[in-house]
Structures are given as structure tokens and as C-alpha cells.
């Protein structure tokens, strides 16, 4: 299952105000690497950089490297995809992230931003979930 995590998921995992559902989500992804794969864009990297300490950002980059998550440059994403979501009423940054998620063909965008993403599932061709809802739908497999 291909996932795109909004920057708030990483910030609530690697930052100084942790949210347990976001941390549990990251841990679940780590526990089942054959089941989940991540994609991330440059914009999300910049969001995280702006909201965590330098040391935490360094660990965040090492985290991505350890999982072999390649960073997609924003310029690769067709402009029209973001523009489509702009016309649907999203703000520019959110429109880009939605366009990026569609472009990579992700199954699900996970975000704590209910106002712009989670509360408007019909706007998107992919699932949008909070970490908590995703974990409810995909409980950890016990071995």
C-alpha cells in the first residue's frame, strides 16, 4: 500500500509536541515494511524542516534514507494536477499536496488536517485519513 504522509504526521512524530496516533502510525509502517511504502515530496521536507529542530531534522532525513524513501522534486509534478485542486477550493500548498498524492498514485493521504483534507473525501481520487482513522482501519497484525 502506497502512502503519502502530510508533513504534520512527521512533525507530530519527530517534533517536540508528539501525538500518539502519529507516532503509532510511523511505528506500524516500520513494523510492516513489506506492506507499506512511502513517497514524499520536497514541499513536505521543507515543512518538516521549518517545524523541528536541526537535530530532529537530521534524524528525519536519516529515517527516510534508512527506509530508502526517495524525495520527489516538486517540479516533477504536473502543474495542472495542483491547479485542478485549486479550482476545487483548496489553498495553493494543499492543492499541490493533493496533486502530488494523485500523481504518485498513492492509495491514501494521511493528514491531521481535517478542515482541508479529511473532511472532504469526495474531492479526491485517493483515500484521506487521519492517523487514528487509518490505524482503526488497518489494525496491527499480531504474530
Amino acid at each position: 500500500m502506497l502512502l503519502v504522509l502530510d508533513s504534520n504526521e512527521y512533525i507530530f512524530s519527530f517534533g517536540s509536541e508528539p501525538k500518539s496516533s502519529c507516532t503509532l502510525l510511523v511505528e506500524q509502517i516500520l513494523q510492516e515494511p513489506a506492506l507499506y511504502s512511502l513517497r514524499i515530496c520536497r514541499t513536505t521536507i521543507e515543512d518538516v524542516r521549518d517545524h523541528v529542530s536541526r537535530g530532529d531534522f537530521r534524524d528525519f532525513i536519516r529515517f527516510l534514507q534508512a527506509l530508502d524513501v526517495f524525495i520527489d522534486e516538486d517540479e516533477l509534478v504536473p502543474f495542472e494536477l495542483g491547479g485542478k485542486y485549486l479550482t476545487r477550493g483548496l489553498k495553493p500548498g494543499d492543492a499541490f499536496l493533493a496533486g502530488y498524492t494523485e500523481w504518485v498514485g498513492a492509495d491514501c493521504l494521511i493528514s491531521e488536517n481535517r478542515k482541508d483534507f479529511v473532511n472532504h473525501p469526495r474531492l479526491f481520487p485517493f483515500k484521506v485519513r487521519t492517523a487514528e482513522h487509518f490505524l482503526e482501519e488497518h489494525p496491527r497484525k499480531t504474530t
Binding site: S7, G15, S16, D47, D50, D56, L67, G93
Partner: protein, 63 residues
């Protein structure tokens, strides 16, 4: 799925990735960070504000 040139893939190392997460969590317990004391809503709003500011300029340049 878009096709593009990507670096040669390495085998993912979830154990090492978890170590990175734990190290960041421990650092935050000791020293805090730029979002210390902010509510969840404030952090989400801050991310949105900065991201939208960057992308407003990019979209404006393309339209």
C-alpha cells in the same frame, strides 16, 4: 505511476529508521523544539500558512 530516474534502491532498514525516530523523541524530551508549547491546531495552522505562502508565489508565477 509516473516514471522517472531514481537512485539505485537499497534494502530498507526499519530498525535503523526506528532508531532515528527514538533519538529524535529522546532529544525532544530533553530539549524541546520549535513547536514546544504549541497546540495541535496551532502547529497545523503554522504548517499550512508557511506552505501556502510558498505555493501562492509558485502558482502565481505559472498562471
Amino acid at each position: 505511476m509516473p516514471r522517472m530516474a531514481r537512485p539505485k534502491s537499497r534494502r530498507p532498514d526499519p530498525k535503523k529508521a526506528l532508531e532515528c525516530l527514538r533519538r529524535a523523541q529522546e532529544r525532544n524530551r530533553r530539549y524541546g523544539g520549535p513547536t514546544k508549547g504549541m497546540t495541535e491546531e496551532e502547529i497545523i495552522a503554522s504548517v499550512k500558512e508557511k506552505r501556502n505562502a510558498r505555493w501562492e508565489a509558485k502558482f502565481a508565477a505559472r498562471t
